[in-house]
Symmetry: C2
Subunit: 425 residues, 2 copies
């Protein structure tokens, strides 16, 4: 892990994969296929890409119960405890509709309602990610979304991983279908005989899934297209090198494009972390991925003060920030741009990935300057409420008409005036 001398070398902005023309073409063809041939297309693409001809797409209640009943009870308890924590944290985010009344009898407000239906994409492949099910489904559930549809590609036996099914049952998914890739996204956006379309699609996926989400955006809403994972640790000489290194590596093992950066006031810590990273790397099962990530996107930057460190953080706007300094809470409160802030020695980043409660779907690529973790607000919509009383309109319609005419919009002026025309109707 290199120690760098200039902060100009530090950046989290990496090119977001935009897909090749060929990938783009494939996705368009698949989406068109789903629009035209619906279920039949889903079954065909699943056979082609996942290697299994399904007799039905839906996961039945029995399949779900069986996965749940046969799952390691200890692990199941852990999943349930995590789900409770995540639910509890997101409950705090719920907002009520509100109204205010004015002395002239008018009512103004915001009606806040859940989105009607949400689709959650869960990637397939070797590893199953129950945590991803929780982090996408639970905020929607807490928001009050009635219909939460999960789609995920089946394995060659036509099954979904037990861990994912168990998480779906715990989180309260209402329908599960065995369909992945661009065809899964197409089904959620356009609907088929079996799958009713949804209003919003969230969840991570490969490049085909990302391209499909982008293509259906507008017909439905989507969440952000996330980039590779990032961790920045801000530390002084009170931090423990082995722990800093372990946390940096926890993100590096995700992806060769993952980014791990240490910003520190302590040159001694810098060198010790450098050694620790090297030594811990050799013992990791995913060593080759993590090693490449650390080599290409890892850096240690020594600053002269914590204040300078905070400035560097704000410029980076990292997805995950750990603050391991003296008076860490106060330091953390000075930070303006970060998706999630882990404070103190005992807030190792995986605490937030799995268990504590806050969401692990976070802004990447420096977008924490203007974006937020996935949250309950992402699953509601607001409608403005305007009920003007007769008195209110009478008192103000001439002003409104004058304002409209200032903008050259005569029909707007006449609309408010129409209520008080002398000649009546």
């Amino acid at each position: 892990m290199k120690i760098i001398k200039s902060k100009q070398a530090l950046s989290l902005k990496r090119t977001v994969e935009s897909g090749t023309d060929e990938q783009q073409r494939v996705v368009e063809e698949i989406l068109q296929g789903v629009k035209e041939r619906k279920d039949e297309a889903l079954l065909d693409y699943t056979e082609r890409f996942d290697g299994v001809r399904l007799s039905r797409l839906i996961v039945t209640g029995e399949e779900l119960d069986q996965a749940y009943d046969t799952f390691d009870p200890e692990l199941r308890d852990i999943l349930e405890e995590a789900a409770r924590n995540i639910t509890s944290f997101h409950e705090e985010q719920k907002r009520q509709s509100w109204f205010k009344t004015t002395p002239d009898g008018s009512v103004l407000g915001q009606k806040i309602q859940p989105i009607e239906s949400v689709g959650v994409y869960v990637p397939g492949g070797t590893a199953a990610y129950p945590s991803s099910v929780f982090m996408n489904v639970i905020p929607a559930k807490v928001a009050g979304v009635k219909r939460i549809v999960m789609v995920s590609p089946p394995n060659e036996n036509g099954d979904l991983p037990d861990g994912v099914l168990v998480a779906a049952k715990i989180a309260g998914v209402t329908e599960i279908y065995k369909v992945g890739g661009a065809q899964g996204i197409g089904a959620l956006a356009y609907g088929t005989e079996t799958i009713e379309p949804v209003d919003k699609i969230t969840g991570p996926g490969n490049i085909y899934v990302a391209l499909a989400k982008r293509a259906v955006y507008g017909d439905v809403d989507i969440d952000m297209i996330a980039g590779p994972s990032e961790i920045v640790v801000l530390a002084d000489d009170t931090a423990v090198a082995s722990e800093v290194a372990a946390d940096l590596l926890s993100q590096a093992e995700h992806d060769t494009r993952a980014c791990s950066i240490l910003v520190t006031t302590s040159e001694k810590l810098a060198f010790r972390v450098q050694e620790e990273v090297e030594s811990q790397l050799t013992r990791l099962p995913r060593e080759s991925i993590a090693r490449k990530a650390i080599r290409d996107h890892g850096a240690i930057y020594v600053v002269t003060s914590i204040e300078e460190g905070v400035d560097v953080i704000d410029e980076l706007a990292p997805e995950h920030l750990e603050v391991m300094t003296e008076d860490a809470f106060s330091v953390a409160m000075k930070v303006r741009n970060a998706g999630a802030i882990f404070i103190g020695r005992y807030s190792s980043e995986p605490v937030g990935d799995y268990f504590a409660g806050p969401n692990h779907v976070l802004p990447t690529n420096g977008t924490a300057r203007f974006s937020s973790p996935l949250n309950v607000d992402d699953f509601v919509k607001k409608s403005s409420i305007i009920q003007y009383s007769e008195k209110a309109l009478k008192d103000h319609y001439q002003k409104i008409a004058a304002f409209a005419r200032l903008e050259g919009l005569e029909a707007h002026a006449r609309a408010v005036e129409s209520r008080f025309r002398e000649d009546g109707e």
Copy 2:
């Protein structure tokens, strides 16, 4: 205005202008020009597109004061009253950071902070839109955004309209530059010698502005790309035909692609509104625009009950909904999908465009199913806060490690375990 028999003929989904290849090429060239030649490029493009060679881009305090001091005092008072109403409505939306503590001494929460800097695009052309300045700037101001930069194309004399300048001063814009089009967006996104870049860009514009906003998205955040205006009126026989017609026309005058729909339980009202629209149309200064909009995108649909009417509304998910029925408030509360709901006879739609307080930047094209009016939340970002205590991590790290291993992420497990290694450091 045609009376239609099937709700299948009703739709607010229209193709969003995506721009020609040529327009796309022009926008890319302009953005590249701004990146490379900065201020010089802005001055060149302004000369080319707006017909004026400026000596400086910034609007000075003196220019602003002069516009304000020489503005019609009565109109200025109206603008100030409108700004107060808009501020007051948006103040209600403000949210505080929050924390909760657990018995084991951990702290979890959301830190909610304003985005640092926002750019607001204000279109030029014949009409000036002070209301657009208010609706974009005030929510940002209320959110606590420190730097609010306005850009707008100058006229041939190198000036911006007084109404826009006065609105900018009232709303509290912190910097104003005379630059429009794709070059204005490029300046806000990338910065020049004169203009510091911003974190988010909002505000409407022509196709070049829309394409430029889409191109810079990711480097900065943007608001939605709005479609043409829409109004749907839900009315029974208690509604006054001339007023319904006037409100339908108030949106039709915006744009030949604007959409005006009446959904009513009263066949009598349907015919009377049809007559009234025709008769009021002939007296409108923007008759030709409104007539084309009504012809191409206007419709009256007769339903058998208010409940059926509400279902039609929810499928349409209109930008503006007016409810003019008996017990209008209760009917409005049943609606799930609408950007802004105007309730009762005295809540003519322009009340919300200019004066009442709620935002007039609203979801179009049926996106009210999942999108909201522009609001204070659009100008803040949230950071998750996680401070686990030693006890909390000690109690839970084995569960977290087990969860991580279920997902095949060993380095995640080791990160939480590293705090309790027997061998210490």
